[in-house]
Amino acid sequence: MMDTLHNPAAATAATKDGKTGTFTIDEIIEHYHGEWILMRVTEDDEDGWPLRGYLLDVAPTQEEILQAWTRRAPEVSDGKGWPLYTFLAEPLITSGPEYETAVREFFMGLLQAGGLRDAEAE
């Protein structure tokens, strides 16, 4: 299974003939750190985020991965209900100063929005 993870072309070919397994997002991030990824998601985690799927393509730029998206788009009409997903393979961040700042800004915005809603209700 890991052979195809090291070789996107092999992964693509194997996906087509159904001989490969799926990979977790964490596995893909570990092997393709900094690259753009195109995958078909076969499983979400308990929080609703893509967890596992078929690795369809890997590219150094967003533009190239979007071209791959266009090429592979017809495949999703197979009725399996596995969505296409693109992302930049970077490790997930769940703590640290940037994280804290983003959370703080989000909640400050929500407070503002709450004020807007109250004003609209009056």
Binding site: G34, V41, D44, D47, G48, W49, P50, Q62, L66, W69, T70, A73, V76, G81, W82, P83, L84, Y85, T86, F87, L88, E90, L92, I93, T94, E98, Y99, T101, A102, V103, F106, F107, G109, L110, Q112, A113, L116, R117, E120
Partner: protein, 144 residues
């Protein structure tokens, strides 16, 4: 099978561009069960927006049913149907299509696909939003 008026619960996930100049929290959103988008809950925007890149992705999958062109502003609005958030059925989503400089990473790429505005999250079908400030788990509760 979840019903359209079930609570929708998910965790916000952090997105950051490589040079760490921009950060966003994102919502796992699916359109038509065949495209997954990362959309930012934008608590200061009145309307929802997707980037032209996200629009092209949806168009490739034939998920754009109707475009509304505003001749005065030149802007295009689309209504996205069959929306799911965290795998649960959610209301249709009206989005403007435009570049969003606030969502650009430092090298000009969009690391997220757009944002959900107040029209959807706050003034639309969801009468209640509950957020766990420790886990960032969000529960959207539709009006019943």
């Amino acid at each position: 099978m979840p019903k359209p008026n079930d609570d929708i619960s998910f965790r916000l996930r952090f997105r950051m561009d490589r040079l760490r100049q921009r950060t966003w929290l994102a919502v796992p959103t699916s359109i038509g069960s065949i495209a997954t988008l990362d959309l930012v809950p934008n608590s200061v925007a009145t309307r929802s927006v997707i980037t032209p890149i996200a629009y092209h992705k949806l168009r490739d999958l034939e998920l754009i049913d109707l475009d509304i062109h505003d001749l005065q502003s030149g802007r295009v609005t689309s209504v996205l149907g069959n929306v799911s958030i965290a795998g649960l059925s959610a209301p249709d989503l009206a989005v403007q299509i435009r570049d969003v400089p606030e969502l650009l990473g430092s090298d000009g790429r969009f690391l997220v696909d757009g944002y959900l505005g107040l029209d959807y999250l706050f003034f639309g079908d969801f009468g209640s939003i509950e957020i766990n400030t420790r886990t960032l788990r969000v529960t959207l509760r539709p009006d019943r």
